[in-house]
C-alpha cells in the first residue's frame, strides 16, 4: 500500500497540532481523517527513532463510513501483531472492532525480541486516546454542549442526557479543525474499563491464510517478473575462482548469467531465468570453481574439542555476582554436569527471498523481512541511491524466528536487479536457505553446584563455552550468552558465571529466544539435578527456593513490602504453583511414564510448564504439556495460547531432532532429509492457562520455546533415572 501522507519536513514533537494538520491534509482527496504517530515505546525508549527522516511510521485512518485502518509499522510473521495491536487501538479509541482493518506500513520497524506489544502498547494507547478525546470534543462542539456530557463507544459519540449519537465518520470535518490533546497527558482507560483487550478474538489475517490469498515474499508478482538464483560458495569465506556460463545459458528459459559483486567484495554468480525452475536448472549446469578459503577445516568435532579444552582452562570473562557463604543444614551434596547444545537453523518454511525492481532513480523492494527500514538502508547503500527513492513493501513473512534480519539475499537481489531492466525475484533454495543461515550459537556449559539436605543451594558455578553471536554487532562475545543474572530468581549465596569463546567463522545470529533457548535448558535441568540430589520433589524444591528470599507472610503481613526482585520471584512462584495444580503434579503415573517441571521469566513474562512423557522401546513420546503463563495484561488469549503452543512445539523440535553439523567447513544438513523437524505424530496435547493480570503486557513470542527441552529432560529423568544433557536428546547416550 502507499500511504497518502506527506509528513512535514520538520521534526515536530509526536502528535503535535502541526503534525496533525499536516497529516490530515489528505482529507480533501480521500475523505479520511489521518493521525500519524510513531511506534516505539518502553523497550527501545533509550534509542533514537529508527527513521530519523520521518516523524511517523504508523497512521490511523478514519473514513466517513466509520471504517478505521491502522497502518502498522510492524511485520506480521505469525505472532499475531496484525490483530493484537489494532485491538489496543480499538480499545483506547473506542472503535467498532468489526470496522477495523490493518494495512502494512512502508515504514516498518524492527520486529523481534518479543517486543512488538511492549514497544507499541503505550504509543498505540496514546494515539487511540487522542482520537477518542478528539471525537468527543468534535461531537460536543457540534452539539454546542460540554464534553463531560458525552462518551465514546464502538465508533460513536453519545450525548448522555439526550441519547443523541454521532458516528466518528460523521465527525471527521469537525475533528479535523481541533487540536489533538497532548499524548502524554491524555487520559488512558483503566484495565477495569477494557471491553476489547482480553477477549479471544479471531486473528484478522487468518481467513486469507486458509485460501492461498495471503501474499508472502515469494508471492510478489510485479508485471514482467523474472526469477533468479545465485551460486554461492559452499564453504563460509570461500571465494570465486572462475566460471563458465555457456552450459547454463543453454538451459531453456535461462535469460542471463553474470557475476555480481557486493560492496564488501563478495563475488557470486547470478542465474536469471523465466521461471524459478529454469534458474535452478541453470545453476546446476553452471561450471564454477571456488577457492574453499581459510575456514575449510572447520568442523563440529573440533568445536566440541575446543569447548572441552576450555572447560579446564581459566575463563576469559567473569560476571560480577554475589559470593557469600551460608552454613549448610545437614550433609552437603556436590554435583557437576556438562550440558551441550548444537548449531540450529531457523528453517522457516518460506525460503529466503527478495524481489527488486529498479526503474531509473526509483527502486521497489518486496520482501518478507523483520526490519523494513533496515532493508531500505541496506539497499540504498548497496545501490548508492537515496533512501527516499526506495520503497520497501513488507510482505507476510512465512516464518521469522530471527532469520529475517539476514540481508545477504537482499543485497544479492538488488545487485541482480541493477543489471536487469526487469523486476527480479531472487530465491534462495531450501539448501541455500540452510547453508547461508545465521545459526543459533553452539557450545556447552559446565556447572558445579552444592546443595544441603534442606534444599538450600549453597553455591552454583557455571562456565559457558560457546561460539557467541555478538560479533556482527561489535559487542563483546559474552554479551548475550548468560542468563539474566540481575534477575536470577533462585537465591544462591555463591553464584559464579564465567565465559570462554569457541572461535568459528560459521555465521551465527538470533534464533527464536536467543540465549533463553539454551539457558532455559541448562538452568532448569541443573536445578532439577540439585533437587534430586537433595532428595526433594522438583516442584517443592523450586517452590522452597523461590520462597526462601521472600519475607514471611506472617511477619510482613502484606505484599506491598516486596522488592522488585521479590515481586518477580512471587510471580514466578504463582505460575509454578498453578502448573503443579493444573497438571495434577502429585498424582501417580504408570510405570514407564514421567513428569518434568520447569519455570522461567523472560520478556517480563512468566511461564511454568509440566511435560508428561511415556517411554517406548528405546525412545519416548511427549504426551502432554501443561503451561501456566503470566504475561501481564493479556491482549488476545487466542494469540497468546497460539504462541505458547507453537513456541513449545518449536522447542520440542529443537530438543528432539535438530542439529547443524559442520564438516570441512561445509554445512552437512542442507534440506529436510537431514535437518529433521518435529512432525505431527510427535506433537503433544497442550493445555495452556493464562493468569489474570493488570501489569503492562510482557512478550510472548519467544516465551513458549524456553522450557521445552528441560521439561522433557526432567520428565525422562523422572521416568528412567537417565539425565539427558546433550541436545538434541538421544536416550541411548543418557547417563544413569
Amino acid at each position: 500500500m502507499k500511504t497518502n501522507i506527506e509528513p512535514p519536513s520538520e521534526t515536530p514533537p509526536k502528535f503535535s497540532r502541526r503534525a496533525f494538520i499536516a497529516s490530515s491534509a489528505v482529507v480533501a482527496c480521500t475523505g479520511a481523517l489521518v493521525i500519524g504517530f510513531k511506534l516505539y515505546g518502553p523497550v527501545h525508549s533509550g534509542e533514537a527513532p529508527y527513521n530519523a527522516g520521518s516523524p511517523f511510521d504508523s497512521w490511523i485512518r478514519i473514513y466517513p463510513d466509520n471504517r478505521v485502518e491502522l497502518v502498522l509499522a510492524k511485520t506480521e510473521m505469525g505472532q499475531g501483531v496484525f490483530t493484537a495491536l489494532p485491538m489496543v487501538l480499538a480499545e483506547e479509541a473506542e472503535l467498532d472492532w468489526s470496522r477495523v482493518s490493518v494495512v502494512q506500513s512502508e515504514e516498518c520497524t524492527g520486529t523481534g525480541g518479543s517486543g512488538s506489544v511492549r514497544e507499541s502498547y503505550l504509543p498505540l494507547r496514546q494515539a487511540g486516546a487522542q482520537m477518542r478525546e478528539t471525537m468527543i470534543a468534535a461531537a460536543a462542539a457540534r452539539w454546542g454542549i460540554s464534553k463531560e456530557e458525552c462518551f465514546a463507544r464502538s465508533g460513536n459519540v453519545t450525548h448522555r442526557p439526550s441519547g443523541r449519537v454521532l458516528s466518528y465518520g460523521s465527525l471527521i470535518e469537525h475533528a479535523r479543525r481541533l487540536p489533538l490533546p497532548d499524548a502524554k497527558a491524555v487520559r488512558l482507560k483503566t484495565s477495569s474499563e477494557f471491553t476489547v483487550l482480553g477477549k479471544p478474538l479471531p486473528h484478522l489475517d487468518i481467513p486469507d491464510k486458509t485460501t492461498g490469498r495471503a501474499r508472502f515474499g515469494l508471492d510478489a508478482r510485479p508485471q514482467g517478473l523474472v526469477f533468479a538464483v545465485v551460486a554461492q560458495s559452499p564453504t563460509v569465506g570461500g571465494t570465486l575462482v572462475d566460471f563458465d556460463r555457456s552450459r547454463a545459458l543453454e538451459v531453456p528459459g535461462v535469460l542471463d548469467v553474470f557475476e555480481i559483486k557486493s560492496r564488501d567484495g563478495i563475488r557470486q554468480v547470478a542465474i536469471v531465468a523465466r521461471t524459478t525452475w529454469a534458474a535452478i536448472e541453470g545453476r546446476d549446469a553452471l561450471k564454477i570453481r571456488w577457492n574453499p578459503g581459510p575456514h575449510a577445516d572447520e568442523s563440529s568435532e573440533a568445536m566440541t574439542a575446543s569447548m572441552k579444552a576450555s572447560f579446564d582452562k581459566p575463563p576469559e570473562w567473569t560476571w560480577p555476582t554475589a559470593h557469600a557463604t551460608r552454613t549448610p543444614i545437614g550433609p552437603v551434596k556436590q554435583i557437576e554436569s556438562v550440558y551441550e547444545y548444537p548449531f540450529l537453523a531457523h528453517t522457516p518454511i518460506e525460503p529466503m527471498n527478495t524481489t527488486v525492481h529498479i526503474q531509473r532513480d526509483r527502486c521497489d523492494v518486496w520482501t518478507p523481512t523483520q526490519d523494513g527500514q533496515g532493508v531500505r538502508k541496506t539497499v540504498a547503500k548497496e545501490l548508492g541511491m537515496p533512501e527516499s527513492n526506495i520503497t520497501v513493501h513488507v510482505m507476510f513473512v512465512g516464518g521469522g524466528f530471527g532469520s529475517r534480519f539476514n540481508r545477504a539475499y537482499t543485497v544479492q537481489a538488488a545487485l541482480i536487479a541493477k543489471q536487469m531492466n526487469l523486476p527480479v525475484q531472487l530465491v534462495w533454495t531450501r539448501e541455500d536457505t540452510i547453508v547461508n543461515d545465521e545459526f543459533r550459537q553452539c557450545g556447552g556449559q559446565k556447572l558445579r553446584g552444592a546443595v544441603d539436605s534442606k534444599g538450600n543451594v549453597l553455591s552454583w558455578s557455571c562456565h559457558i563455552v560457546d561460539t557467541s553471536i555478538a560479533g556482527p554487532w561489535g559487542m563483546p562475545p559474552q554479551a548475550w550468552e548468560a542468563p539474566d543474572l540481575d534477575i536470577f530468581l533462585y537465591p544462591i549465596p555463591d553464584l559464579h558465571y564465567t565465559y570462554s569463546q569457541i572461535h568459528s567463522a560459521i555465521k551465527r545470529g538470533a534464533w527464536r529466544s536467543v540465549s533463553e533457548s539454551f539457558n532455559g535448558f541448562v538452568l532448569e535441568s541443573f536445578i532439577d539435578e540439585l533437587a534430586h540430589a537433595a532428595k526433594i520433589d522438583p516442584y517443592l524444591f523450586r517452590r522452597r527456593l523461590l520462597a526462601s528470599d521472600m519475607p514471611s507472610a506472617k511477619r510482613s503481613g502484606q505484599t506491598g513490602a516486596l522488592t522488585p526482585k521479590q515481586q518477580q520471584a512471587q510471580s514466578l512462584l504463582a505460575v509454578l504453583d498453578q502448573v503443579a495444580e493444573k497438571s495434577d503434579w502429585r498424582s501417580p503415573l504408570d510405570k514407564g511414564r514421567g513428569r518434568g517441571i520447569a519455570c522461567w521469566r523472560a520478556y517480563t513474562s512468566y511461564i511454568a510448564q509440566v511435560a508428561e512423557v511415556t517411554m517406548t522401546k528405546e525412545q519416548f513420546h511427549v504426551d502432554r504439556v501443561v503451561s501456566v503463563v503470566d504475561c501481564g495484561q493479556v491482549l488476545n488469549p487466542n494469540g497468546v495460547k497460539a504462541q505458547i503452543e507453537g513456541g513449545c512445539t518449536m522447542g520440542l523440535s529443537a530438543a528432539l531432532r535438530e542439529a547443524i553439523t559442520i564438516r570441512n567447513g561445509v554445512v552437512q544438513e542442507q534440506n529436510f532429509n537431514r535437518y529433521q523437524l518435529l512432525r505431527m505424530p510427535d506433537t503433544p496435547v497442550f493445555e495452556t492457562y493464562l493468569v489474570d493480570s493488570n501489569r503492562d503486557p510482557g512478550g510472548i513470542g519467544e516465551l513458549g520455546i524456553t522450557l521445552a527441552a528441560p521439561i522433557v529432560a526432567n520428565a525422562v529423568f523422572a521416568a528412567t533415572g537417565k539425565r539427558l544433557k546433550r541436545l538434541p536428546f538421544r536416550l541411548d547416550e543418557a547417563s544413569l
Binding site: 510473521m77 505469525g78 499475531g80 479471531p202 486473528h203 489475517d205 487468518i206 481467513p207 486469507d208 491464510k209 486458509t210 485460501t211 492461498g212 495471503a214 508472502f216 515469494l218 508478482r221 531453456p252 528459459g253 523465466r274 521461471t275 524459478t276 525452475w277 529454469a278 535452478i280 528453517t347 522457516p348 518454511i349 518460506e350 525460503p351 507476510f396 513473512v397 512465512g398 516464518g399 521469522g400 524466528f401 530465491v427 533454495t429 531450501r430 487466542n638 497460539a642 504462541q643 503452543e645 507453537g646 513456541g647 513449545c648 512445539t649 518449536m650 523440535s653 534440506n671 529436510f672 532429509n673 523437524l677 518435529l678 512432525r679 505431527m680 505424530p681 506433537t683 503433544p684 497442550f686
Partner: protein
C-alpha cells in the same frame, strides 16, 4: 518449448514448459497460482501439496508431463462454492500463524478426510506427517481436522 494442456481447478490451461518442469513451478511462475508454496523442492515439507485426481500430491515432485490428463486442484480451487469445510474448520480453530505451510496442510487434510471421514488422532497424525509447520500449529491442525470431520457428518 513444448506446449501442454492442463486441467486446473476445472479449467483448461495451456502452458509452454520443458517436459521435466515440476507442476509447482508451472502453477507459481507461469499461471500465477501462488497459493501452492515452495518449501523444500524434494517432497519433504508438503507446502506445495495439491490434489491430482483427488489425491494429495507434492506438486514439486510431479512433472508437467505427468500432470497432463489429470484433474488438478490447488488451494485456489478447493472452495469452489465458498470456503471448503476444512478451510472453515481452520478458521474456527484459529490454526494459521505465519500461514505459509497452511495451503499444503489444508490440501492434505481435505484429501485425507475425503477417504477417511471419521479419523482417530493416530490416523490424522499419520496422514499429516508429511506436512511440516515451523510455527508449530500441529496441535490446532489436529483439532481442526476433527472439527471438519464432525461438520461433514452433520
Amino acid at each position: 518449448m513444448p506446449q501442454y494442456l492442463l486441467q486446473i481447478n476445472n479449467a483448461t490451461r495451456k502452458v509452454e514448459a520443458q517436459p521435466g518442469m515440476p507442476l509447482l513451478w508451472i502453477l507459481r511462475d507461469l499461471l500465477n497460482l501462488t497459493g501452492s508454496k515452495y518449501g523444500c523442492g524434494i517432497g519433504l515439507c508438503g507446502a506445495c501439496t495439491v490434489h491430482v485426481d483427488g489425491e494429495a500430491t507434492r506438486s514439486c515432485q510431479v512433472s508437467v508431463v505427468a500432470a497432463v490428463g489429470k484433474q488438478i486442484t490447488t488451494i485456489e480451487g478447493l472452495g469452489q462454492n465458498g470456503l471448503h469445510i476444512v478451510q472453515q474448520a481452520w478458521i474456527a480453530e484459529q490454526v494459521p500463524q505465519c500461514g505459509y505451510c497452511q495451503p499444503g496442510q489444508i490440501m492434505s487434510a481435505a484429501a485425507f478426510l475425503a477417504t477417511n471421514p471419521k479419523p482417530t488422532d493416530a490416523e490424522i497424525d499419520d496422514a499429516m506427517a508429511g506436512n511440516l509447520c515451523r510455527c508449530g500449529t500441529y496441535f490446532r491442525i489436529r483439532k481442526a481436522i476433527h472439527r471438519a470431520a464432525q461438520e461433514m457428518q452433520s
